[in-house]
């Protein structure tokens, strides 16, 4: 029986994540168009199987959740420091910089703390790739396909021990906010909305973090 040499996944190297690009190793990035196609197909797949908008959002979140868990382990391993995050601000920094950089090539545009609620934080991205090529019909009532990304964030936070509820909201751009343009290869009309990922932590997380001083 002649089989092509299948390498066991446990033998494959995990790579350095594209930070060091040598000419010999293959580039680890994927083209935006193939991701967009795959993502649109995934959204359609779920849409055909649900009855309501919130169910669709929940399914996208669930899909992102398992990605988030893996991203957490992989990025922590690749950092090679054998350190985990135990403080709230640190894990949020980890998500908005390290994770964003490795997934999208740039850090998140901002990380803010809500004034009204002590347990709410916002990660802002002006042009998340999941909704770049998706237009939501008006009768879908506020569906954000970035639910996939909020699932990823939720997976990372819960995996690290900071259970949180993460939702994605499209907010229109305020006066004076100009998003930095995405690469010049993609020519699109300027976006009118940014996406805000609202992270609401479980109360236990806040009490534990405050007790740690």
């Amino acid at each position: 029986m002649n089989r092509s040499p299948l390498v066991n996944i446990l033998d494959r190297p995990l790579g350095k994540g594209g930070a060091t690009r040598s000419t010999t190793t293959t580039d680890q990035s994927v083209s935006l168009s193939s991701f967009a196609y795959l993502y649109s197909e995934m959204v359609q797949y779920h849409q055909n199987r649900v009855d309501s908008i919130s169910e669709l959002e929940r399914r996208l979140e669930a899909t992102g959740y398992s990605v988030g868990l893996r991203v957490l382990e992989l990025l922590a391993y690749r950092a090679r420091e054998y350190k985990r995050e135990t403080r709230l601000m640190n894990i949020l920094q980890f998500v908005s910089t390290t994770v964003w950089k490795s997934l999208f090539g740039k850090a998140a545009d901002s990380l803010e703390r809500s004034i009204d609620h002590a347990d709410e934080f916002m990660i802002v991205d002006y042009a998340p790739i999941t909704s770049t090529f998706v237009s939501v019909p008006s009768d879908f009532g506020g569906l954000s396909v970035d639910a996939y990304l909020s699932g990823i964030i939720a997976g990372i936070l819960e995996g690290a021990g900071f259970p949180a509820r993460v939702t994605a909201h499209s907010v229109s751009l305020e006066e004076g906010e100009t998003p930095s343009s995405i690469s010049s290869v993609v020519v699109l009309p300027p976006r009118k909305e940014k996406t805000v990922f609202l992270v609401k932590f479980a109360p236990t997380v806040l009490t534990r973090d405050n007790a740690m001083g």
Binding site: R12, A76, R84
Partner: protein, 141 residues
Amino acid sequence: MSSTLLFVIVGRNEPLYEAEFHKRGGAGASSDAATRQNYFVLHSALDLVEKAAWATSGMYLKVVDKVNNQHVSTFLTAGNVKLLLLHNGRSEDSIRHFFQDVYELYVKLSMNPFYRYDTPIKSTDFDTRVRAIARRYLLQS
């Protein structure tokens, strides 16, 4: 009795993987009572692991519990999966290398989209490799 090492991977709710390592040339499978006691010691150390987990941001927690002559060392992954080793006073270095190699193996395993996070690890390849790592680092004395 203390020439066996017990290694357990614990997730949120249940053990995900267990392995016993015996010294080369030593006695065969240890007696039932000893095994049960070993498991008991490991699981009762879990509380201490939880406490120590939030005190430090490193992954390798060294020895968290000492019972009789046996030490429980722990390694926590970024996803709070606990790797526990029951041993009788091995060198810190060899245990740390053991944990780091098993950690790398665990990360590779979790990249598999068919492996659900926090479910028991049934892969025989994983088992073989863990035993090879154990032979390399823990049973050389």
